[in-house]
């Protein structure tokens, strides 16, 4: 029996509640019937074995790296809950945050003085293509966009992830501990996204965030209509886009009705014939069941408003709007509907739907009550400095009438991102009981000069700027710069980090 037979919505973020409340009774009933499986045997009719959809056929094998109890002391701590603690300590035990506060002590914990340093939750990127559009950017590794049909809900990004993408290491050096890998945006339905722990592994499963819900990538606007319009198939217009979504949700509604009927008939002791499995519709049904969260590439205000109505038409939640360039125009609507908006601080102009950028976008969205503003990267470069991406928003906003502080802005790349991914019970803030995903910064992380010095995932150190032992290297880069001469390691120095070089030279 799969780990995930219980509905994910029980542990999901707030924005799914509206939907769940509306139909939770039915969903819970149907799903619990699925989970009962073979045990539901009633006397009236001889029943065949129950057909149960395995919802987790590629399960996580992630194991936290070796860790010891650690007490980080005297730091400025941004908890991710809107709090800032000065001169404070944090205790990490058994992979969890045990305590955050002043003057903590713990026997048998390794105590590290972090005076002058800043500590934040691990950074979370809700929008990444690492591993599916990896470096080097060669055709052989271009695995992020299944551009063969406007609806490819059947594809799963996890089946494309190349865990040796060197960008995972670079992102880790920027404090990224969790990231969602999404398919591209060519299609109306691009497929499932997967949430990964940013640990080195030679398999995708070794990185997979064990209990994170799947995401379904949808795309509004220019991309689908351009890709398919040029092939003279629907969609070639934005109205074609919406017709495409509606057709798919109609089919999914019917598919779900068939499965629900199968489940209820089976529970009633009948011996019904199970519906024919359809991978595409499995994913869409997962959304209708509240188990899969929507991650919708959608730039423009009027399109987001339509997508919200679409979700109401088919009774699912419209989730997170990604690249929401115009979220600031509908900040009220997004908050009222419980949508997260994932935004860049300043990317713009590369296409028409990205023309109305304002740098304060995330701040304007954030200012509304019950909002969920997220700063994302969609880039193997800026994922390394999401702290600075958030800083740009904060400072530009403060120049224009806002009064945001570091403890507010950090939420955009930690707690709110966790909420968007449905993992905020586990990660995203430094609160007792949460996973010990921690970044130690050499200074205020909202500085251009800030660097992550140490990164912990589940209490285990996975990166240390000053200790080569904690600097993983992808298979791809290993051995690329070996010396051709026996007894000569001179060329190795070329790729040594600068900190190491300067240390060497200063001791000379």
């Amino acid at each position: 029996m799969s780990k995930k037979t219980l509905p994910r919505n029980l542990v999901m973020s707030k924005f799914t509640h509206k939907f769940i409340n509306k139909k939770s009774a039915f969903t819970l009933f149907a799903t619990s019937m699925l989970s009962l499986g073979l045990t539901a045997c009633l006397p009236n009719e001889k029943q065949d074995a129950k057909i149960v959809i395995n919802k987790n056929p590629y399960p996580s094998t992630y194991q936290a790296l070796p860790a010891q109890s650690t007490l980080l002391t005297n730091a400025t701590i941004l908890t991710g809950t809107g709090e800032r603690l000065d001169d404070a300590d944090i205790l990490l035990v058994n992979g969890k945050v045990m305590q955050v506060g002043k003057n903590l002590s713990a026997e048998q914990a390794k105590v590290i003085d972090m005076a002058g340093k800043w500590i934040t939750p691990g950074i979370i990127d809700v929008h990444s293509h690492l591993g599916v559009y990896p470096n080097p950017q060669v055709e052989s590794h271009s695995d992020g966009n299944e551009m063969t049909s406007p609806n490819t809900s059947e594809v799963w990004a996890e089946h494309s992830v190349w865990p040796q993408d060197p960008a995972f290491e670079a992102a880790r050096a920027g404090g990224v501990t969790t990231l969602q890998i999404l398919p591209g945006s060519a299609n109306l339905f691009g497929g499932r996204g997967v949430t990964l722990r940013n640990v080195p592994s030679h398999t995708m499963q070794g990185m997979k965030f064990a209990d994170a819900p799947y995401g379904l990538k949808m795309a509004c606007g220019e991309n689908p209509k351009r890709v398919y319009g040029s092939r003279k198939v629907l969609p070639s217009t934005r109205m074609g886009n919406v017709a495409g979504y509606r057709t798919a949700w109609l089919a999914a509604t019917e598919y779900k009705r068939e499965w629900d009927k199968y489940d209820s008939d089976y529970s009633a002791g009948k011996n019904p014939q199970a519906p024919t499995r359809d991978l595409e519709l499995d994913t869409l049904m997962g959304v209708l069941d509240g188990e899969i969260l929507i991650h919708n590439h959608c730039y423009k205000a009027e399109e987001m408003a339509v997508m919200i109505d679409l979700s109401n038409e088919f009774n699912y939640h419209s989730g997170t709007f990604h690249h929401a360039i115009e979220a600031y125009k509908i900040a009220d609507l997004l908050a009222a509907n419980g949508n997260c908006a994932a935004m860049w601080p300043d990317w713009w102009g590369f296409k028409m739907e990205a023309f109305d950028m304002v740098e304060e976008n995330a701040a304007i969205v954030d200012a509304v009550k019950n909002s969920c503003a997220v700063v994302h990267s969609d880039s193997s470069t800026t994922i390394q400095r999401l702290n600075q991406e958030a800083a740009k928003v904060m400072y530009r906003a403060n120049e224009n009438g806002f009064a945001l502080k570091e403890e507010d802005a950090i939420k955009w790349i930690t707690a709110n991102a966790a909420k968007s991914l449905g993992i905020n019970d586990e990660v995203g803030s430094l609160v007792a009981g949460k996973n010990a995903d921690v970044v130690v910064w050499n200074m205020n992380p909202f500085s251009v000069y800030a660097q992550a010095e140490q990164v912990f995932i589940d209490g285990a150190k996975v990166y240390d700027r000053f200790d080569d032992k904690y600097q993983a290297k992808s298979d791809f880069l290993l051995g690329q710069n070996l010396s051709n001469h026996a007894n000569d390691q001179a060329t190795e120095a070329v790729t040594a980090p600068v900190s190491k070089l300067s240390t060497t030279s200063s001791t000379k």
Binding site: P136, D346, M352, I364, S447, V448, N481
Partner: protein
């Protein structure tokens, strides 16, 4: 005019020595006092200094002790200790040649038919909405590098200021661009061969023409022939060979870089390496050849097999090896205002602050012979007054002058933000 005799005489003297590009608006005389002046010149950093500008030019830079008692300028600005730098000079982008990336009708930076004579400055749009936004990052001028055609010689670059006026183009066709290295089709070898062959051919043609010219000079009467006018392409090649125009060569892999250094030596080219991801492997050779490298400070991933040694520390490493580096934001046109953050990242990764500043000011000016990039008497008054450390995210531009004219720091983005944060019961379209 209220200029003192000294200021006036200085200005007159300078007019003879420099070609000053003035905007349509006649610039007033301004004294910026009590500034922390990053001169990016011999004077280094001056605290409580005063910079006087008149008619678009810097006419005096006074250190704390040299400030005269009276400064009779039209305007007096107390910098209150804030930092004054030369305006930043961005490079390697399509500013003014593209409005919306995916809207092909707004793109003028490339053309299949473009060859080495391609002059995209004719298409430059000073009214582009990208320009005001770029100013917010302290950028006052820019080396535009169009993508050109698909030949090895892709076209020529040009320099603009960011005044937004119709006379923004400072110099047309100032350097020749070639694109080398890996490509999806064909071999990089042929690109190098084409470049080498074209240089060799041009040199032969030039020698032949010079010989004919010399012969012609000696000839008398009817033996005298009219000199054959070189073709447009030949003229460009001759300018390259004479070192009158820099050769901007895109190349990442060390082998391509070494091949270019060889050509530079052979033909005495004014070579500038662009991209240069793996330049660290041959940094000593580049330094020895006195070649400037124009590169990104934030590309640190092995994006291709030509770029396996990309690193955030590369700018610092090259500089340490003695290479003059220009930091550019590689291809991005809409966000060139982030140049200062890229320089900040380079500082965080080992580059000295003053070197980082030079990498986006004086180094660009020197390489392309621009009369800007330093706060020195005689230079264009392209200046930026910062609220604090110019590289910090928390800092903003408080004031900017281009050719002595105070520039607006408001962009279309500000108008949008104001519209959607305004308190109104009416549809937002009424908020203007």
């Amino acid at each position: 005019m209220k200029n003192t005799y000294l200021l006036t005489s200085l200005r007159c003297a300078l007019f003879g020595a420099f070609t000053v590009t003035t905007s349509q608006v006649q610039a007033e005389s301004i004294a910026i006092t009590n500034a922390t002046v990053y001169t990016v010149a011999e004077q280094g950093i001056l605290s409580q200094a005063t910079v006087v500008i008149d008619d678009g030019t810097i006419i005096a830079v006074y250190s704390k002790d040299e400030v005269p008692e009276s400064l009779n300028t039209d305007t007096l600005i107390d910098a209150k200790g804030r930092i004054l730098t030369p305006g930043f000079i961005a490079s390697q982008n399509l500013l003014g040649l593209v409005e919306v990336g995916a809207v092909s009708a707004t793109r003028d930076g490339s053309d299949k038919k473009a060859d080495l004579t391609f002059d995209a400055s004719l298409a430059f749009n000073p009214k582009s909405s990208l320009i005001a936004y770029a100013r917010k990052g302290g950028v006052t001028s820019n080396l535009v590098m169009p993508h050109g055609g698909d030949k090895v010689f892709t076209g020529q670059s040009f320099v603009v200021n960011l005044s937004g006026e119709f006379d923004s183009v400072i110099v047309q066709k100032n350097a020749v661009m070639v694109s080398l290295g890996s490509s999806r089709k064909g071999s990089r070898a042929l690109k190098l061969q084409t470049l080498a062959n074209d240089l060799e051919d041009a040199q032969k043609e030039l020698a032949k023409a010079e010989k004919a010219e010399a012969k012609n000079k000696k000839a008398k009467g009817k033996d005298k022939k009219e000199a054959k006018e070189p073709s447009r392409s030949q003229k460009v090649m001759y300018a390259l060979l004479a070192g009158e125009k820099p050769l901007l060569a895109y190349a990442d892999r060390a082998t391509d870089i070494l091949a270019l250094l060889k050509l530079k030596q052979q033909y005495n080219l004014d070579l500038v390496l662009v991209g240069a991801s793996d330049a660290v492997l041959v940094s000593d050779e580049i330094a020895k050849a006195n070649v400037t490298v124009m590169m990104s400070a934030i590309d640190n991933l092995p994006s291709s097999f030509d770029s396996l040694h990309n690193s955030l520390a590369n700018v610092a490493k090259l500089t340490k090896a003695g290479v003059k580096v220009i930091i550019s934001n590689s291809g991005e046109s809409h966000n060139i205002n982030q140049l200062r953050f890229d320089a900040g990242v380079a500082i965080a990764n080992g580059l000295a602050e003053t070197t980082a500043l030079a990498a986006i000011t004086a180094n660009v000016a020197d390489t392309f012979k621009l009369n800007s990039g330093r706060i020195v008497v005689g230079k264009n008054a392209d200046l930026v007054l910062w609220s604090s450390d110019p590289f910090e995210i928390s800092t903003k531009v408080d004031a900017m002058w281009i050719n002595g004219n105070a520039m607006s720091l408001r962009s279309r983005q500000d108008a949008l933000r104001e519209r959607y944060t305004a308190d109104t019961d009416m549809p937002r379209s009424y908020t203007k």
